[in-house]
């Protein structure tokens, strides 16, 4: 060494380095705790399938007003959310589109089976453009004559799985599969109808409203596919299990149900009938 550090030098350098490392963390923690909601305000994190975004955001202010609890949403693909939860994501509530993501979490102990509540159901429909060749389609068998149709890619979205299942059970899948575009997601499938690149899309009724110039022309009977339910549950080890349960109860009230219906969801009770 060109020159030696005395003990005093080392001590000072050690202190400085410590400070340099510690300080940013301290700052971040302080800033974070201030920016997080005031501990006085309760909040719960809701991880939900993307298709429920309209309903949940519309009903949120009412819940917050009634209970004083703030809702923080995380909307994404159900499987993606399940993955996040199993890796420790801080969800209080999980709402899935379809059973498999919920099952995935049950198997890993993040949700107790008995806590699952089937919230609502969705319905598959055939949507076509309002000013195209197939504006007046009346029978599902007409799909077999179309140039092209679109569904969400079954590998990527539950809506696609259900659509494929239904078309298969109806008996036209083998005919139409070669001419079926597996779209990246439901919105894209509907976009193809809008631009005229497919003649029809088989999607959830709740999605059709987002596409201008496209509307539901046919309903697909629920018997052709497994029920499209939305299981919801409070997550084990949630920070606010009690508040979470309150939210689930809220989602079954008449008010919430009316909003679900407005967007095209059917309540589970109806199907059983």
């Amino acid at each position: 060494m060109p020159f030696s550090f005395s003990g005093k030098h080392l001590f000072v350098i050690f202190k400085l380095v410590n400070l340099a490392i510690f300080l940013p963390f301290a700052l971040i923690t302080v800033v974070f705790s201030f920016s997080c909601a005031n501990p006085e305000t309760q909040r719960i994190m809701v991880f939900s399938a993307a298709s429920l975004v309209d309903v949940l955001q519309e009903t949120a202010p009412e819940f917050e007003k009634q209970t004083g609890t703030k809702l923080i949403f995380n909307f994404a693909g159900s499987q993606t959310l399940a993955g996040e939860i199993s890796n420790g994501g801080p969800a209080d509530i999980f709402i899935s589109a379809g059973h498999s993501p919920a099952r995935f979490l049950v198997d890993r102990g993040h949700i107790k089976e008995e806590n699952i509540l089937e919230l609502v159901e969705n319905v598959l429909v055939v949507a076509t453009s309002d000013d195209g060749e197939y504006v007046n389609i009346s029978d599902i068998a007409e799909l077999a004559n179309m140039h092209r149709i679109a569904i969400a890619d079954p590998d990527l979205a539950p809506a696609g799985e259900y659509a494929k299942e239904a078309l298969h059970n109806i008996g036209i899948w083998s005919e139409i599969s070669r001419r079926t575009i597996l779209a990246a997601d439901v919105r894209t499938a509907l976009a193809y109808v809008q631009t005229g690149d497919v003649d029809a899309a088989v999607v959830y009724i709740t999605d059709v409203s987002i596409a201008k110039g496209v509307s539901t022309k046919l309903f697909i009977n629920g018997m052709h596919h497994t029920p499209i339910v939305y299981p919801a549950a409070v997550v084990e080890n949630a920070r606010e299990p009690v508040l979470g349960k309150e939210y689930l109860d809220f989602l079954t009230t008449a008010y919430a149900s009316s909003v679900f219906e407005k967007y095209g969801f059917a309540s589970v009770k109806e199907r059983i009938n």
Partner: protein
């Protein structure tokens, strides 16, 4: 896997070939001349860089879909399909990689000493002759670099492609789309194989780039 690689290469090469003349021309205009409306042009060509590729994909879908004037013409008059074919995939890759190609070319061209071009003009050379005999030979390294950059970007294009070309195996499923599909369905080991191929393609492209530059290293540059 071979088929996926073939499609990927076909799409990327076509995209690069489509872009090249435009990138060269616009690179020249913005790098060497001072056109009116320069700002507008610069913003416009940078858009695909700033926007998520998915947005670009939707824009292309709207512009070229069966109902659009262009799409209608191409489909009904020329009898050609674009959406859901590899051509659409090429166009998507072309649009997304264009800003990268053109920006490199702009930089390369603006580095050419304007007095050299003036000298050429005063010696009797028109704008075209000046461009091909003076500007291009003095900036070709940047042009090559930009082209390869665009090519590599076109190889990895995903967001716009999946919208406008779909993910149709054997027709439009490129490497990025195939990797995505396998990852989403949990077939991660298959995905890894494809990732390895992607990396290989990128490495080869960059290797070609370096080889081209070193070959002309002694002659190029000032």
């Amino acid at each position: 896997m071979l088929e996926i690689t073939y499609i990927t290469l076909k799409v990327a090469i076509a995209a690069t070939l489509i872009n090249f003349p435009f990138a060269l021309y616009i690179g020249w205009i913005l790098g060497r001349r001072n056109p009116k409306g320069r700002l507008v042009l610069e913003v416009f060509i940078s858009l695909p860089l700033a926007l998520p590729p998915v947005v670009t994909g939707y824009a292309l879908l709207i512009a070229l879909g069966s109902r659009s004037p262009i799409g209608n013409f191409i489909q009904n008059v020329l009898g050609i399909d674009i959406i859901f074919t590899w051509v659409a995939a090429s166009l998507a890759a072309a649009v997304v990689s264009f800003p990268l190609m053109v920006r490199s070319i702009i930089v390369a061209m603006s580095a050419v000493d304007p007095r050299l071009e003036r000298s050429a003009r005063s010696l009797g050379a028109g704008p075209m002759k000046t461009f091909f005999s003076i500007t291009l030979p003095l900036s070709y390294q940047g042009v090559i670099a930009g082209t390869l950059l665009g090519f590599v970007r076109a190889l990895s294009e995903f967001g716009a492609t999946i919208i406008v070309a779909g993910n149709i195996p054997g027709v439009t499923q490129t490497l990025p789309l195939a990797i995505f599909a396998r990852v989403q369905t949990g077939r991660t080991s298959d995905a890894f194989e494809l990732v390895a191929v992607s990396v290989l393609l990128a490495v080869i492209s960059l290797g070609v780039h370096n080889w081209l530059l070193s070959r002309s290293g002694s002659k190029g540059g000032i």
